[in-house]
């Protein structure tokens, strides 16, 4: 989705209206209309997306602080970048983010694919049940995340009660969001609950795109179901699955609302993901220059990783 090949994925552009027809149209020229139609969008995106980004880059070379508007702003070169990269806390944050990213993707891919595979068996009412499974991802992560803190309460929380009921442990003996060893899993569970349907929907689209004639041919060749699964189903769904992983990866690298409401980065800073850490630097400690450098580093990281990933994705598609 990140390079020009994405345009093809969504659909070939229809041919431009033939010359003879365009010559007969009256009024404004097509060229003028094209610009008239595109310009407002481009302008808005430049003003609200690109201009701030350039400003961030500029700020990242200064010692500017929002809460000290009258202090003299000095250019400090790469100092901010060096202090970001040598800060031990940031590496801990990165570790927390990596744990969150890897486990949510693994769980969501496994459960999401399994669900899509089952739904594709076309049992009666699969449409309605699919919609019910999709519900969590349509809701506000902040509001839902906040309510999950209630479900995670020791003793009175529904989650603890259910775990206690199923495993026989005392529901007041553990606290999912208060315990250092459990909190990283608490956020993985809620994110998986919320976003598995997304992976499921994309897998379902992939499964439905496989023509049944391929399976019929395999059946004629007496290929076992097991073999059909590994040589037809998996390779044909793989590009879709990789796309889902890309979207989830980018989204969870940016993760803020759900986790900030669930744990607030705690206990201590064990679930302090990069976005939460960045927010703390920028809007609580008001180290604007430092936070800007941090933001630039994050953006370059996502952009770089995503570009490499898209290259791999296109290779898989071409196979």
């Amino acid at each position: 989705m990140l390079d020009s090949s994405a345009g093809r994925a969504v659909g070939e552009t229809p041919p431009v209206v033939s010359k003879s027809v365009s010559k007969r149209r009256q009024g404004v020229s097509d060229r003028a209309i094209a610009w008239l139609f595109v310009a407002p969008s481009i302008f808005l995106l430049l003003a609200v997306n690109i201009f701030p980004l350039i400003w961030t880059v500029r700020l990242s070379f200064t010692n500017f602080r929002v809460n000290r508007p009258n202090a003299e702003v000095q250019f400090v070169g790469l100092k901010n970048y060096i202090s970001v990269l040598t800060d031990g806390d940031i590496w801990q944050t990165m570790q927390a983010t990596a744990h969150f990213l890897i486990w949510t993707i693994v769980l969501q891919v496994l459960i999401g694919f399994a669900l899509a595979y089952l739904i594709n068996k076309k049992f009666r009412g699969n449409d309605l049940w699919t919609t019910i499974i999709v519900l969590p991802m349509m809701l506000s992560p902040a509001v839902v995340g906040n309510f999950w803190t209630f479900l995670y309460q020791p003793q009175i929380g529904l989650f603890n009660y259910a775990v206690g009921y199923l495993t026989g442990t005392d529901p007041s003996a553990f606290s999912m969001i208060g315990d250092v060893s459990l909190a990283p899993w608490a956020i993985v569970i809620v994110d998986t609950w919320m976003w598995t349907p997304f992976v499921m929907l994309i897998c379902l689209a992939g499964l439905r795109s496989i023509p049944s004639s391929i399976y019929e041919a395999a059946e004629c060749d007496r290929a076992s179901k097991w073999r059909q699964f590994w040589t037809i189903t998996i390779p044909m769904v793989l590009p879709f699955l990789m796309l889902a992983v890309l979207f989830r990866g980018i989204e969870n690298f940016k993760m803020f609302d759900l986790v900030v409401q669930l744990t607030g980065g705690g206990p201590g800073s064990i679930t302090e993901l990069t976005s939460i850490n960045l927010k703390r630097e920028a809007f609580e400690k008001w180290r604007t220059g430092y936070a800007s450098a941090y933001a630039v580093i994050l953006f370059v990281t996502v952009f770089g990783l995503a570009s490499i990933y898209v290259k791999a994705l296109n290779k898989v598609k071409q196979r």
């Binding site: 020009s4 994405a6 994925a9 969504v10 659909g11 552009t13 229809p14 041919p15 209206v17 027809v21 365009s22 007969r24 009256q26 009024g27 060229r31 008239l36 139609f37 595109v38 969008s41 481009i42 808005l44 995106l45 997306n49 701030p52 980004l53 700020l59 089952l118 076309k122 049992f123 009666r124 049940w129 919609t131 019910i132 999709v134 519900l135 969590p136 349509m138 809701l139 506000s140 902040a142 509001v143 906040n146 209630f150 479900l151 003793q155 929380g157 529904l158 009660y161 929907l201 994309i202 689209a205 019929e216 980018i250 940016k254 803020f256 609302d257 920028a282 933001a295 953006f299 952009f303």
Partner: protein, 313 residues
């Protein structure tokens, strides 16, 4: 005689698959049902152990959500006399009196204004841009589309610093206009992307016929293309609306008073002595249930939006 197909699952397979999916669906929807149930509980029922599934329903949570209350003194009670309304009675039962309305209604209508405002603006700008990208030779088209998409990869916090500064110097901080512009920009990339897909599917012959009949480009656009793209526009609009409705990061950083939306507000609802969970649940219910109903009713149109256009008809 029905034709035998090797790809059609057997009845037993369908039953097994159906059962597993239904079990998963029931587990996944449980937390949502719990939110709704909690909103009708009394505070003591909400924190009972073991968790109560059968309880005496009360509107206390909703009353607490919409009002601010103070503890009643003997004198207050004497002056006010008997409670006059049903909500007075509910509050009085716990020894409180209603001091005034809470800010919930305000925050909720902010969510509506900003949500609908940004959706309309986004659709107007997005449809025009998508049409141009679909039908004309725009120089650097692929680069522009890529640029539009890449704006989604930025963490909101990273752009929030300069937007905060920019809005502050323009007087847009904590205003409806500022938030509408911001959400429009955030949604625009995806809207153009989705709408271009929809418009690409409309055969170009219709417009050519209209142009030959003497329509201008503009007339051909709004008399021929727009009516045909309506389903696509509607599903993109729903998607934009849900995003703006749910957004939290920008809202919490850039609004604090007049333009604050419901997502940053609901978690701050605190009762007297510990969090008032029924009131929080009541706010969450009012905020989430419209989206749930939307999703179920409009499920056929939503799928493409939520999978970023990866799912095609």
């Amino acid at each position: 005689m029905s034709s035998y197909s090797v790809t059609e699952p057997s009845v037993r397979q369908k039953w097994a698959a159906g059962t597993l999916v239904v079990v998963y669906a029931l587990i996944t929807i449980l937390p949502l049902l719990w939110i709704i149930a909690t909103s009708f509980k009394s505070p003591s029922d909400a924190i009972a152990y073991p968790p109560k599934t059968v309880f005496q329903p009360t509107l206390e949570g909703y009353v607490n959500l919409f009002t601010t209350r103070t503890r009643a003194t003997e004198q207050d009670l004497k002056e006010l006399g008997e409670p006059k309304t049903w909500y007075d009675r509910i509050v009085r039962k716990d020894g409180f009196i209603i001091a005034g309305p809470s800010r919930f209604l305000e925050r909720f209508s902010n969510s509506m204004i900003i949500g609908f405002g940004s959706t309309v603006l986004c659709i107007v700008l997005g449809t025009a841009a998508a049409y141009a990208f679909s039908r004309f030779k725009v120089p650097l088209k692929d680069d522009l589309l890529f640029f539009i998409l890449s704006t989604r990869m930025m963490p909101p916090i990273a752009v929030a610093i300069p937007i905060f500064l920019m809005f502050r110097s323009l007087g847009l901080n904590d205003t409806h206009a500022g938030m509408i512009l911001l959400y429009t920009a955030v949604n625009l990339s995806l809207a153009v992307w989705l709408l271009k897909g929809f418009i690409d599917e409309i055969p170009i012959e219709y417009e050519e016929a209209a142009l030959i009949d003497g329509y201008t480009r503009f007339q051909a656009f709004y008399k021929v293309v727009l009516p045909q793209a309506m389903t696509g526009i509607a599903s993109t609009a729903i998607f934009c609306l849900i995003f703006a409705w749910n957004e939290y990061a920008f809202a919490v950083l850039l609004t604090s008073g007049t333009a604050q939306t419901a997502p940053p507000f609901i978690p701050t609802i605190i009762g007297v002595g510990g969090q008032d969970w029924p009131a929080v649940a009541a706010g969450a219910t009012l905020f989430l249930v419209p989206v749930m109903i939307f999703t179920i009713v409009l499920r056929k149109h939503l799928l493409r939006g939520i999978t970023f256009g990866a799912v095609r008809k």
